[in-house]
Symmetry: C2
């Protein structure tokens, strides 16, 4: 295609990727001071020193920026969970490590900076795709652990796999979803251990 | 004592009890229209047609009225749970009935009228005595069911009783506490059955 036939925008190369990342980092900083709810794209543009139009070249809306921040945070939780699972030697230990890593990382990332919670709450409350992807990934990791435990004979096999996974996921949900986790912060030391013990009793062959 | 020696307020007899009840009923009606947060004792007095001073003869504060409404609601939930438990024949059935009755009654009472949720949220969030008494009563009913099941051989006895009860209570908590229940309303059909199954698997001897 010649340049005359194609007045399309320039391809988004590494430079564009860097600007996106720069906007996300600056927005994360801005939201954590002023909150997600109260900030407009204009406020954000002023604080970063970009024009509003320039930001809109990279993100369709404030929600799109919020989604990018949320994705980053949720991916960090998933990475911590995956690392914890890989390091554990048996399905029992994997389950305990998973639950612990999930609760401690989520608590750190969402609540040590309350304003990031603000974005997470929007994400979970409104079913953003980043939140849905996160829930699916956690369910998938859980499924792999349960399946491995059933195959090795460490866990019972009478209950249908999907039923076992779903009910264990329901037990974990109040610590996976930041909207619920905010009310459980005084339990995060105790609950993962107690609930892991209960779940593992339910999985005994 | 002669009347001259004793200018104390009249003893609180059945008439006073009726006025208290009248204030509670009127306040419940008023709060469910306008919300607990936004209503002052003056608003309430105006709407009932009593003077503010007269209301303060019966209740120290708006919170005291809120507590009375909350107590009534929580007592209704406990009564429904107790009835469900009495009607069930085995500890397994008692546990299932308890969980079901708890979730369905709490959902009805708190969320079919969202403004009552408003009071319940204050109660649970601020640790009002009515909320603490409710949690204790639910834990007590649960303890009785687990103990009965252990004695009859229906449930395992290896786990210390208090540990078993505590972990099961943690599983139920997101459906007991209205602050958490509000985020679980799309699960109230499915979760009590799934979680009861899991808990009962963990209790198998």
């Amino acid at each position: 295609m010649s340049e005359i036939e194609s007045p399309a925008p320039q391809p988004r190369g590494p430079a564009d990727h860097n600007v996106r990342e720069q906007i996300v980092v600056a927005a994360e900083e801005h939201f954590s001071h002023y909150g997600y709810e109260k900030t407009t794209v204009s406020d954000l543009a002023r604080s970063i020193g970009f024009s509003k139009a320039y930001i809109y070249k990279f993100f369709d809306s404030k929600q799109a920026i919020g989604e990018a921040i949320c994705s980053k945070t949720l991916e960090a939780i998933v990475a911590a969970v995956e690392e914890a699972v890989v390091e554990a030697s048996t399905p029992t230990k994997k389950f305990r490590s998973m639950f612990n890593a999930l609760v401690s990382t989520a608590t750190d990332l969402f609540f040590n900076d309350r304003k990031l919670y603000d974005i997470a709450a929007h994400s979970a409350g409104e079913g953003w795709s980043s939140a849905r992807a996160y829930v699916q990934r956690i369910e998938q990791i859980l499924t792999e652990i349960i399946r491995e435990g059933r195959e090795s004979g460490e866990f019972e096999r009478k209950t249908p796999l999907d039923e076992a996974v779903h009910s264990i996921f329901l037990v974990m949900l109040p610590y996976v979803n930041p909207l619920l986790l905010q009310h459980n912060l005084d339990l995060v030391e105790d609950a993962p251990v107690q609930l892991s013990n209960l779940v593992l009793r339910s999985l005994a062959p």
